[in-house]
Amino acid sequence: MTPVTTATPAYRSQPGSPPGPLHAIFLAGTVPLFVGALLSDIAYSNTYQIQWSNFASWLLAGGELFAGIALLFALVNLLRAPRKSGQPLTYFALLLITWVLGLVNCFQHAKDAWAVMPAGLVLSVIVSILICVTAWIGLSQRIPHAGGVK
């Protein structure tokens, strides 16, 4: 027998299940924003052209906004999960770490001119790797106890 689900809005995923569409958009959308910031940082450190650093600042700010919304979804999912461990917890914890480091990186990028470097570039590398891993884990969560899906 297929489990009967209670009425769930389309934007909200079931407890412990993979992210719903809106959650997935914000989570996956963070990846190009943080990676874009990293690429801009690399361009700035190669050229000293300040506009690349400005781009990096805004891409990071956008990444923080997207990751922050995804983080709220992840928290709700975790709280609603039957078992608060395993993938939902790992995903939430990784996203939280990514978001906090991203915020530190935003402040680092608020320094003037070359004062952003080299710490800004190092943080952008770390945050870019973290968001790729986090999104991968977050988006490959399985539905536990769902009949037929193994």
Partner: protein, 430 residues
């Protein structure tokens, strides 16, 4: 962005409250200030003193001196000029049109605006007259309007020169006039793109041939790009007859007031130095301005101290940088300069008055007063003396912020206050 700015503000509040880099209570003054190593936490220290009205209170002046408000309800008074007949012209306005390039600019702009007046830019000159010499300026009238953020003022040969934020203009003047007869003549355009530091300070050579105009940098430390700094952070010498100009001295980050030393004829300037290197860096300074001299910005500060935030580097320019004459202390924001005369009283007869607008990039605020730097033999000699204080009240709120200072040969110091929108007059008692 809303989310980020709220978080940043919380961060700023935390930083200020938990700050262990407040900086000393005493500032490094004089020719050889002690310079600590640069430091900057994750967030810059920002301390904006909340404005509060003067009420019945007045600034504090030394014993034997009196202070009165000679005009109020102005529209952001900045610099003043005393005309030969004793009338006072007040330049009113606020300029700048720098775009917000980073999230930081949005947030920092919002915070800094809390420490400034909400009054709109006057873009005009107001004339104050005390016809009977009783110290009360009974006439307050608009001398000229429709100007563009006027700041620097100078007078010679029955001409009034006004440095707008984008152009040097000239009015014809005849003694006793209370309003300009016609719109001014433009002598030359001034660099005004972006105008991060928009104030165009000015003074004139004793023979009335050259005016010197201070043009501030277009950034704190090149964060708007090197291209934005063409024709910035320098003093121009402009020949008012031929309307030609040349850079007279460069590397002066923000020369906010210029004056000629009355005995030596030497050009002097107060200069606001760079921020975000810690509470005790970089000293704002008072210096003689040498023709052809380079004073360090952006590559280095106080001589050969390299600023690592500037790329690409320029070791040749660093090696050529002149050390300024006299440190006023970091972040005091000196905006006014006027040389004294014996009529100001024995203790203040020989030296320079300096108006200090006050700090933002320091947990322990400094400035917010008018000081006197004693001179001997045409050079600074000795520690500065407080001349007008009390611009912050006992609770740390700000009642006023001094800008331009002008010595009136009748025996008075005129101080423009751009927070209270008042002009103060300090006189020796007799």
């Amino acid at each position: 962005m809303k989310r980020l700015s709220t978080l940043t503000m919380i961060g700023v509040a935390l930083l200020v409250s938990a700050c262990n880099d407040k900086g000393g209570d005493t500032l490094a003054h004089g020719a050889d200030p002690k310079l600590p190593a640069p430091q900057r936490g994750l967030l810059p220290s920002m301390k904006i003193a909340e404005p509060t009205p003067w009420g019945d209170q007045k600034p504090t002046v030394p014993e034997g001196y009196s202070v009165t408000a000679i005009a109020g309800d102005l529209q952001i008074p900045r610099q003043t000029l005393v005309l030969p007949n004793g009338d006072i012209l007040v330049a009113e306005g606020r300029g700048g049109n720098a775009a917000k390039l980073k999230p930081k600019d949005v947030i920092a702009g919002y915070i800094k605006a809390k420490g400034n007046t909400k009054v709109k830019s006057g873009n005009r000159l107001t004339l104050l007259r005390d016809a009977d010499g009783d110290g009360k300026y009974e006439l307050k009238t608009v001398f000229a309007d429709n100007l563009n953020a006027p700041y620097g003022l100078a007078f010679a040969d029955n001409k009034i020169y006004v440095a707008n934020q984008d152009a040097l203009v000239r009015f014809d003047y005849s003694e006793g006039q209370t309003a300009a007869a016609a719109a001014p003549t433009t002598i030359t355009q001034l660099p005004s793109e972006i105008n991060h530091h928009w104030t165009k300070a000015m003074t004139i050579s004793p023979d009335g041939r050259y005016v010197y105009v201070g043009i501030g940098s277009n950034s704190n430390i090149t964060e708007r790009g090197m291209e934005a700094e063409v024709d910035r952070a320098m003093v121009w010498q402009i020949d008012v007859n031929t309307r030609t100009y040349k850079p007279y001295a460069t590397g002066l980050r923000n020369p906010t007031a210029l004056a000629m030393h009355p005995e030596t004829g030497q050009l002097w300037s107060v200069v606001n130095e760079r921020d975000e290197l810690g509470p005790d860096l970089v000293p704002d300074y008072l210096t003689s301005v040498r023709e052809g001299g380079f004073y360090g910005w952006p590559y280095s500060y106080w001589g050969q101290n390299v600023d690592p935030r500037v790329k690409p580097e320029n070791p040749k320019k660093v090696a050529a940088a002149i050390k300024p004459d006299y440190s006023l202390g970091s972040h005091v924001a000196a905006l006014g300069l006027s040389f004294s005369q014996p009529v100001m009283g024995a203790k203040f007869a020989n030296g320079a008055f300096v108006g200090e607008h006050g700090s933002w990039n320091r947990a322990n605020p400094v400035g917010y007063k008018v000081i006197f730097v004693p001179f001997a033999g045409g050079r600074p000699a000795g520690e500065p003396i407080d001349f007008v204080t009390g611009f912050r009240d006992a609770n740390g709120k700000t009642r006023g912020r001094p800008v331009g200072v002008t010595v009136d040969p009748k025996g008075a110091l005129i101080v423009a206050d751009d927070l209270a929108n008042v002009v103060w007059r300090v006189t020796p008692n007799r």
